[in-house]
C-alpha cells in the first residue's frame, strides 16, 4: 500500500463508479454461490443432504429431498441433473460430484418415513382438480392436500405417475420405486379418477371446482412426413407411444434391425428398449452433430455401452419399401455450417444418399402439446404455437381458475421442472383461495448460521477430499439386456456413497467477512489455496476483475466486495472456485472471516407440518 499511495499517475486511483459493497442480507447472493442449488429448478438444498448422507442420516437426507423435489427415488435415477454441470467441483477438477446418484442413495437406504409425513388438516371445503397424474399434478396434490384441500386427479391410465411411468423404461426406473412415491401422495386422501380421459375442460369447470390444474404433459410425439411415410404402415412407431405400449405390456417384440430417429433422451430409451426386445442391430440416426445431441451425456454413454451405434449428421430422406414392406431408410449426409449470426444450418455434403436396411423405425424427434380438449370459448386464451397463455410466475392461465404446469405449461422439459411448476401452482392456488394477491410470492426460508465449534473446529468437514468422481456399478450387460425389468444401474453402496459425498465442497457454508474487525494482515490471502481473496483498491467491476490475483473472468460468478477498509482498500473475493475449506477463517487472527451455513428452503404453500422442513 505504500507504493499505491505514492504512485503519481492518477490511473492507479479508482474512479467512480466503484463496486458497491455486497449486501449479504440479500438471500440471492449466497444462494447463487451454492451453484447446484441455484441451478436446480426446485432449489433443493444439495450440500445439506449430501452431508447427511456422509453421516449415514439417509432418512433425513431423503426427507430434505422429499420436501423439495417430491420424488427423490425417481429423480435419483432419472433426473436431468442441471445441478451437476453447475457443480463447483467441476471447475476445480475434471468432474462434478455425482449428486444425482447420491440422491438415489438417500432413497435406497432410508428408513421408515410414515411418521414424518405431514398431518392432513381437516377439510377446508375447497376442491381442486388436477388433470393428468404426472409429476406436476402430484406435486400440486402433495402440497395442497395436507392443507385441507380436497384434491381430485384425473388420468387416462390406470395408475398415477404420467410420463414417469409410461416413458421411462423399467430398466432405468423400477416400478416399485415409482409406485412407492406416487402412492405416498395418493394416500393423502386424493380422489383418483383414473382410466378417465378428460375430453372437455368446459365440463370439468362445470363441476364447480375452486381451481383446475392442467398437468397433461406434452403427449404427442412428432411425426416425420417424408416420402414413404403413408405406405410404411405398422413398422413405423412414434417413440413415446411405443415406449408407453412397452411399459404397459402391450408390446414385447421388435425387429432385429431397428433405426431410431432423433438424438434426445427418448431416442436413447427407445434404442436401449429395442436391444431388450429382440433388436440386434440397433442404430440411432440423428440429424445434428454428435456434440449437440439433446440427450444427456450419461444416457448416450449407457446406450453406447450397450452396443448401440450412433450416426450423426444424417437427415432422413425417405422410407424404402419392397413389396409394400419396409426394408430400410435413405439418408442425406450433412455438415453443420454457421452463418454470420452464428446460426447453424445443416447443409448437404452432396454425397449419394446412404441406405440403411431395417425392420422397424422408431421416431423420437420431439414431442408436442396438444389441446383438442380445451374449448376455445371459455375465456382461456391461446397464443403462439397454439399454446395456452400462462403466467411464468403464477402459472395461471387467462382463465382465473385454471393453472398449468409441467410440460403442459411451456412445452417439454423434464421431471424436476414439472415439480417446481407444481410447487408454484400450488402456492398460487392456495393464495387464490385465501384471497392473497398471486403476485405476492412468499419469501424463501433462509438462515445464515456460524459453523464454528471451537478454535479450529467446524461443524462440517472442511478437509477437502482429493478423490475423483466414483463410477456407479452397473448390472452385468448380458443379464441386463436379457431382462427388460432389470435395473442397469446398481447404485452406490454405503462406502462408495460416503467417498463420493466427501467430494462435495459444502458450498452452502459461506465465507462471511466482517470488515470492521479486519486488520489487513494478509493471512487469508496467503493461505487461500485457490487465490480467491484480494485486498485491492476499488474500481469499476470490469477493471477490478482483471486486477485480481487471478483475473475473475467468469462473469456468471459474483464478486464479494467489502466495505472500505482502513488502508483505503476493499476486500474482494471471487466466489468462482472457492473450496469453502474455511482456511481463511482458521488463519484470521480477529475472526473477521467466519464460515456460516446459508440454508435456503424454497417457499411452499404454507402449512405447519410442512414448515418443519422448510
Amino acid at each position: 500500500m505504500s507504493l499505491d499511495e505514492t504512485k503519481s499517475n492518477s490511473e492507479s486511483r479508482p474512479r467512480p463508479p466503484y463496486m458497491k459493497p455486497t449486501d449479504i442480507t440479500d438471500p440471492n447472493f449466497f444462494h447463487k454461490v451454492v451453484d447446484c442449488q441455484w441451478a436446480c429448478p426446485a432449489h433443493t438444498p444439495v450440500p445439506e443432504y449430501i452431508r447427511m448422507i456422509a453421516q449415514r442420516r439417509y432418512t433425513d437426507a431423503y426427507m430434505v429431498n422429499w420436501e423439495s423435489n417430491v420424488f427423490p427415488g425417481v429423480l435419483g435415477r432419472t433426473c436431468d441433473r442441471p445441478c451437476e454441470p453447475a457443480c463447483r467441483r467441476g471447475r476445480i477438477e475434471d468432474k462434478p460430484v455425482a449428486i444425482c446418484r447420491l440422491k438415489r442413495v438417500a432413497a435406497d437406504y432410508r428408513g421408515d418415513i410414515e411418521h414424518l409425513m405431514p398431518e392432513i388438516a381437516p377439510k377446508n371445503g375447497k376442491r381442486i382438480v388436477c388433470i393428468g397424474g404426472g409429476p406436476a399434478s402430484l406435486t400440486v396434490a402433495r402440497d395442497l392436500a395436507p392443507l385441507g384441500y380436497h384434491v381430485v386427479i384425473y388420468d387416462r391410465d390406470a395408475s398415477g405417475g404420467g410420463m414417469m411411468r409410461s416413458q421411462i423404461p423399467a430398466f432405468r426406473l423400477p416400478e416399485a420405486v415409482l409406485d412407492d412415491e406416487v402412492e405416498r401422495i395418493l394416500k393423502f386422501g386424493i380422489e383418483t379418477r383414473f382410466n378417465q380421459n378428460v375430453d372437455s375442460l368446459k365440463s370439468v369447470l362445470e363441476e364447480d371446482f375452486d381451481a383446475v390444474f392442467v398437468g397433461t404433459g406434452a403427449p404427442r410425439g412428432r411425426d416425420l412426413n417424408i416420402p414413404g411415410r403413408e405406405e410404411v404402415g405398422g413398422n413405423f412407431h412414434i417413440g413415446i407411444d411405443w415406449l408407453m405400449s412397452v411399459a404397459f405390456g402391450h408390446t414385447s417384440k421388435i425387429g432385429k434391425r431397428v433405426i431410431v430417429l432423433g438424438g434426445g433422451n427418448t431416442a436413447m430409451d427407445c434404442c436401449r428398449t429395442s436391444k431388450r426386445l429382440g433388436g440386434t442391430d440397433v442404430k440411432v440416426i440423428v440429424r445434428s452433430p454428435f456434440e449437440t445431441m439433446k440427450a444427456s451425456p450419461w444416457e448416450i454413454e449407457d446406450a453406447q455401452s450397450e452396443d448401440v451405434d450412433i450416426l450423426n449428421n444424417h437427415v432422413p430422406l425417405e422410407f424404402v419399401l419392397k413389396n409394400g414392406k419396409l426394408v430400410g431408410m435413405k439418408f442425406d449426409k450433412v455438415a453443420p455450417v454457421f452463418d454470420e449470426s452464428g446460426r447453424r444450418k445443416l447443409v448437404s455434403t452432396g454425397e449419394e444418399p446412404l441406405f440403411f436396411p431395417c425392420d422397424d423405425v422408431l421416431c423420437a424427434i420431439g414431442q408436442e402439446n396438444h389441446y383438442p380438449w380445451i374449448e376455445r370459448d371459455i375465456g382461456l386464451e391461446f397464443g403462439e404455437w397454439d399454446m395456452p397463455v400462462v403466467d411464468e410466475t403464477t402459472f395461471r392461465s387467462t382463465h382465473p381458475k385454471v393453472f398449468f404446469g409441467g410440460d403442459a405449461a411451456f412445452g417439454p422439459e423434464n421431471i424436476i421442472w414439472a415439480v417446481q411448476h407444481g410447487h408454484q401452482a400450488a402456492i398460487s392456488i392456495h393464495q387464490m383461495c385465501e384471497d392473497i394477491d398471486l403476485n405476492d410470492r412468499p419469501a424463501p426460508n433462509v438462515t445464515l448460521v456460524s459453523q464454528k465449534m471451537g478454535m479450529h473446529e467446524w461443524s462440517y468437514h472442511n478437509d477437502i477430499s482429493n478423490d475423483q468422481r466414483y463410477l456407479v456399478p452397473h448390472a452385468d450387460k448380458t443379464k441386463a439386456l436379457g431382462n427388460i425389468k432389470l435395473e442397469v444401474e446398481l447404485g452406490f453402496d454405503e462406502k462408495l456413497a460416503y467417498d463420493e459425498a466427501m467430494r462435495c465442497l459444502n458450498c452452502d457454508v459461506q465465507t462471511v467477512f466482517e470488515h470492521s474487525i479486519c486488520i489487513e494482515c494478509d493471512a487469508c490471502v496467503d493461505i487461500c489455496p485457490v487465490d480467491c481473496i484480494n485486498f485491492t483498491m476499488n474500481g469499476e467491476e470490469a477493471d477490478v476483475r482483471q486486477a485480481l490475483r487471478v483475473p475473475a473472468l467468469d462473469l456468471d460468478q459474483d464478486l464479494y466486495v467489502s466495505e472500505i477498509l482502513p488502508t483505503g482498500r476493499v476486500m474482494i473475493k471471487d466466489e468462482d472456485v472457492c473450496l469453502h475449506c474455511g482456511l481463511c477463517a482458521e488463519r484470521c487472527p480477529t475472526a473477521a472471516w467466519d464460515m456460516q451455513q446459508h440454508l435456503h428452503n424454497e417457499a411452499r404453500a404454507k402449512h405447519q407440518e410442512l414448515a418443519r422442513w422448510g
Binding site: 500500500m1 507504493l3 505514492t6 486488520i519 494478509d522
Partner: protein, 351 residues
C-alpha cells in the same frame, strides 16, 4: 495456525512461470504459527519472489536458527535444501555452506532474538564478510516463543501488552547492516507485499550480502495499541524512501517515466532495480547519508522503509578471499588434496 493441510487444488487459471510451475509449487508444509502472524506473509512473499524469478527450488538453500521466524523455512520451498541451526548460529553455518557450494541461492531467515541478541556477533561477521546470501530478519520486537518479552529491537517507547514499559533502547538492524558494510540493505513490512516482493527479487539477484529487515507483527504478543511493531502503527508511520521495481534482464522497458524520476541500477546478473526516488536528494550509495536519514525519521517516530542502501559494485566473500570460482564440493580429490609435494613446498616457504 490451521489444523488441516492446505488443499492441493489450486485455481485452474493460476499462471505458470518459465519452469512450468505455479506459485503453489513453491509452497512448503502447513504453518504452525499463530493465525495472522506476519511471518506467514513473509513466507508467502518469498514464495512469490522465487516463483517470479523462475528459481528452481532445488537450487535454493534455506538457513535458519531458532525462534518463530526460524521455523518458517519449513513453510516455503519444500523442494529446497535446508539447515535449521543452533540459536543465533545461522550466519556461521550459512558462511560455511556458501563457501562449500556457492552455486546455490542462500536464503537465511532469522528473527530479532536470533539476530539482534544471541546471534548478534555472528550476524556482524556475516555482513562484514559479504557472504553471498539473502538475509531476512522477521522483526516483531518480541520473544514470541517465550511468551512476549521485549526483544532487543523493541523501541524504547513501545509498551508491552499489559502496559509494561521498555527500559532499553532498540537496535536498528538495518542501520547496523549499513554500518557493518552490507552491500544491499532494505526495510519492509509483512503487510505490504507490493513492496516486499520486488525487494526480495532484487535481493535474490544481488551478489553479496543482501539484508532485509521485515517488520512482521506478532499478532499474539505485540500487536496492541502502544506497540510500534503493530500492523496499525507501521501503516500509520511508514515512510518509504525509495519505491522499488524489479526488472528482469530480458524485459525491455515499456513504461515511460518522467526524466530523472527513476534510476536504474544494474545488478550482477544484468537484471535491474528500478528506483522511483521518493525522498529528493536521497543517495542510495551514501552510507552516512542513509544512516542519518534513518535516524532523523526515527526521531520523528517514523519507520523508514524501502531500499535504503545499495552498492552493486561490491564483491562477495569468495571473490574477496580469491577462492577458486567452482563450488568446493565440485572439486575432486586431486584438487582438494594436492599431496605431499605441495605440502613440502608450502612448508619450505615458511622456513
Amino acid at each position: 495456525m490451521t489444523y488441516i493441510a492446505k488443499p492441493k487444488f489450486h485455481h485452474p487459471k493460476l499462471p505458470l512461470n518459465d519452469l512450468g510451475l505455479t506459485r503453489r509449487d513453491y509452497e512448503g508444509a502447513m504453518s504452525t504459527l499463530c493465525a495472522g502472524c506476519g511471518h506467514d506473509s513473509v513466507s508467502a512473499a518469498i514464495v512469490e519472489a522465487c516463483f517470479e524469478l523462475n528459481l528452481p527450488a532445488h537450487r535454493v538453500a534455506k538457513m535458519s536458527g531458532i525462534g518463530c521466524s526460524s521455523k518458517t523455512p519449513t513453510y516455503f520451498l519444500s523442494k529446497s535444501h535446508g539447515f535449521n541451526s543452533v540459536h543465533g548460529r545461522m550466519p556461521s553455518v550459512a558462511t560455511g555452506a556458501n563457501l562449500a557450494n556457492n552455486s546455490l541461492k542462500y536464503i537465511g531467515v532469522s528473527g530479532d532474538g536470533d539476530t539482534a541478541s544471541i546471534g548478534f556477533g555472528q550476524f556482524a561477521h556475516a555482513v562484514r564478510r559479504q557472504v553471498d546470501m539473502l538475509y531476512v530478519v522477521e522483526n516483531n520486537g518480541t520473544y514470541g516463543l517465550t511468551k512476549g518479552q521485549f526483544s532487543a529491537t523493541n523501541d524504547r517507547v513501545s509498551v508491552g501488552r499489559k502496559g509494561q514499559k521498555n527500559a532499553f533502547g532498540a537496535i536498528d538492524l538495518a542501520a547496523m547492516a549499513i554500518q557493518l558494510g552490507a552491500s544491499f540493505v532494505a526495510r519492509s513490512f509483512s503487510g505490504d507485499k507490493d513492496q516486499l516482493v520486488p525487494l526480495m527479487k532484487a535481493a535474490l539477484s544481488h551478489k553479496g550480502f543482501a539484508f532485509i529487515d521485515v517488520i512482521s507483527p506478532c499478532v499474539t504478543f505485540n500487536n496492541h495499541i502502544g506497540s510500534t511493531k503493530s500492523f496499525e502503527f507501521v501503516r500509520d508511520h511508514e515512510h518509504t524512501v525509495t519505491g522499488v521495481d524489479y526488472v528482469p534482464h530480458r524485459e525491455t522497458i515499456t513504461v515511460d517515466y518522467e526524466e530523472g524520476s527513476v534510476i536504474d541500477v544494474t545488478l550482477h546478473d544484468q537484471s535491474r532495480v528500478r528506483l522511483r526516488k521518493l525522498d529528493t536528494g536521497y543517495d542510495l550509495s551514501d552510507q552516512a547519508g542513509a544512516l542519518q536519514h534513518i535516524m532523523s525519521h526515527q526521531a520523528k517516530g517514523e519507520v523508514v522503509t524501502g531500499l535504503l542502501y545499495l552498492d552493486a559494485g561490491e564483491t562477495e566473500l569468495k571473490e574477496k578471499m580469491d577462492m577458486v570460482a567452482a563450488p568446493l564440493n565440485s572439486l575432486g580429490v586431486a584438487e582438494l588434496r594436492p599431496g605431499m609435494a605441495a605440502l613440502e613446498k608450502i612448508n619450505a616457504g615458511l622456513r
